[in-house]
Symmetry: C2
Subunit: 406 residues, 2 copies
């Protein structure tokens, strides 16, 4: 049945998705598995760092009061290897051999680097300090961080450096936001299974693998993925089952205006229909609804439209589950090659970009038809071609969105 | 034993690592596991794409010769759902209802969108086409890609869009370069186990977790990770075992000038010592050697130096295994806040950056001591402070390297 739809702008569609309340549940996981997870709490230093006076160089620890009138011979009391401690007193004329990173004797005021010393008759118990140096070569306890300080803030997306910081403070588990669990449902009787032979009228489910990997890059978990024929009862049942067990369900296909608009039908019956027509190309039929507190994003089955819809609407939402901004960077850019097609709706053109002399130039990337997919690998940005009856001139400035992980 | 080392420049050290011959072995893996893997062969289209004449809209397929004098009533012969085919002839005055993505009857020259049609007395067997439209709404077979064309090139790093492209052509396995297998060995008697309590003279192995995650982000596999006390026999044996089974061994610690310079000793005895002193801060003791065709990168145990050494030398090497350039972006940037320390060696300062009006500004990020680690999470770039006896003035332009995955 042909039903009338009311198109809204991309900005309005984004706003509606941005207004969806999220649960923001947390979980505690091993630090070893926490790269790029997001802290759900501030982390405080449980001790000073360094937590002991630490030698910055290999050399000899001496009293501060002995730090004059070199060259001078010292009696070597022993050696402090990294990892060891030292509890004997140090007197004038005495030195302790010490390694980089080792515990400095409490009495010592300076570590003279080994390069500034000489052996004395090959004896381990003697050393000649030839000259002083300006630095103490001692890192005082708490130089970097004081006990109680916040070392990493809530909402920080951990990276390898952050994992090192937490490890240094004895942290081996962290409380992080849960990743959203996402189901992906492709619909269409035309979809073949991966090992089938190609046949007239049939296509492979290229959107499924694309969406799964895009979701994972954005920080979501895909633990259900299927493809369904255009059978309303099967679609309805699968959708209901997956909505009950997921934060988000992404569908692709079944949202055009025709007889097999089964996802569109579900959208119209939903608790909240957010939108089912957007003033954009490609993907004007992109649909979103909420049913039983689960968000369903119904993307077009056309590869180009599916790709664009994911970046416009899903990536920011998945990132928001992690308390993070989108990784897509909006910039001003210049159209550097012709694109002559015009449209009544704004077009998000698949492009590549070059950055030089502080400026971004965008180049339309091959065939930009909604159903085309040959350019999806090489597309590195989307550029706005505003709706118009005249083509946008080469050299015109416009908005562009640089895509992550490209 | 204190041995003399001959320092080389960072550029020379990079050149030496860049000259290491790599094996570039390949493997065939499922496409589902190939995101961000790198193709080791060109991939050709095994058929045209689209591989059949495809309807771009829901509507009615008619003969090209019937495309005039609307409004006009047509007899509807049937319906072609996406996934189906159609082999009946089409005559003048006849139409076939057709869905987006479906197989277009061979005779048909146009698909008139459903929005431009009207039902006739509620009969399924009749339709009134109200008006024509400029486009055929038919995507001809091969419009996007011709059979035999290269769809993705050798050395292309696959992304979700690329996985979609390959899937569309029925590809479900790909030949890719093997990732380098890397062992990480931390040395130091001062290293605690993760669940130990902190103790004087002791520290946690913060470099281990950092290096593992940095390697993985760069595209390497870490399948061995250990920490060893400063015992030369244990270090020597572990190093030999891991060199025999890995493409690269990364060590950290044990390369300073002191008595426990056991990794340094191995380096001096190796088949090829590439370098054991670099004119850089932090990490001047950074060492690299080749033994039995395995490359060993011996990074400083100081967290700041270890972090910097990884990005300067290891990230580009691991990417080269994948036939890919480094993901670190070199830019010109302005020092936007004071940094007053001077040094006889070039310093790679841990900074954050801002990009505005086409320019990068860099800000020294907290304590930049070699042994500091509090800033490793938040550091987003390294900036060059050239060796000098006078501090670099605020506003000076310099080289900066934007770090990936930050």
């Amino acid at each position: 049945m042909l039903t009338r739809r009311t198109p809204i702008s991309v900005a309005e569609a984004k706003e509606k998705i941005n207004a969806i309340p999220l649960k923001h549940e947390t979980e505690t996981i091993p630090l070893a598995a926490a790269n790029h997870r997001v802290l759900a709490e501030d982390i405080h230093a449980s001790y000073d760092y360094p937590h002991f006076r630490r030698a910055g160089m290999d050399g000899y620890a001496i009293l501060a009061s002995d730090d004059h009138d070199f060259p001078k011979e010292f009696t070597v009391l022993g050696e402090i290897q990294a990892g060891a401690t030292w509890d004997k007193p140090l007197h004038t004329g005495e030195a302790v051999r010490i390694m980089t990173g080792a515990y400095v004797p409490d009495d010592a005021g300076k570590v003279i680097r080994i390069e500034k010393t000489r052996p004395v008759n090959g004896e381990d118990s003697k050393v000649m300090i030839v000259t002083t140096e300006s630095k103490t070569n001692i890192t005082e306890a708490g130089t970097d961080v004081t006990k109680g300080d916040i070392i990493l803030n809530k909402n920080c997306e951990l990276n390898p450096g952050g994992l090192a910081v937490l490890t240094a403070f004895g942290v081996h588990e962290v409380k992080v936001y849960k990743k959203p669990r996402i189901a992906i449902i492709a619909t269409g009787t035309e979809l073949l299974s991966p090992t089938d032979q190609i046949a007239p009228g049939k296509i492979f489910n290229s959107n499924g693998i694309m969406l799964k990997n895009l979701v994972e890059e954005a920080g979501g978990i895909v633990d259900f993925e299927t493809q369904l024929p255009d059978e309303p009862a099967v679609i309805k049942q699968t959708l209901e089952e997956q909505m009950a067990t997921h934060d988000i369900v992404i569908t692709d296909g079944g949202v055009s205006v025709g007889d097999f608009d089964y996802i569109g039908d579900e959208a119209r019956k939903a608790d909240t229909l957010l939108f089912n027509k957007i003033k954009q190309r490609p993907g004007s039929v992109t649909t979103a609804f909420i049913q039983n507190n689960t968000f369903v994003m119904a993307l077009s089955g056309n590869p180009g439209a599916c790709f664009t819809g994911f970046y416009l609407y899903m990536e920011p939402l998945i990132r928001r589950y992690q308390h993070q901004p989108s990784r897509i960077k909006q910039v001003r850019a210049t159209l550097a090659a012709p694109y002559n097609k015009t449209n009544g709706f704004d077009r998000y053109l698949r492009c590549t970009y070059k950055f030089s002399n502080g400026k971004f130039a965008v180049y339309p990337n091959g065939i930009n038809r909604s159903g085309s997919l040959a350019n999806l690998q090489t597309t590195t940005c989307l550029a706005l071609i505003p709706h118009s009856t005249t083509p946008m001139a080469v050299g015109t400035e416009t908005d562009a969105w640089l895509l992550p992980f490209k």
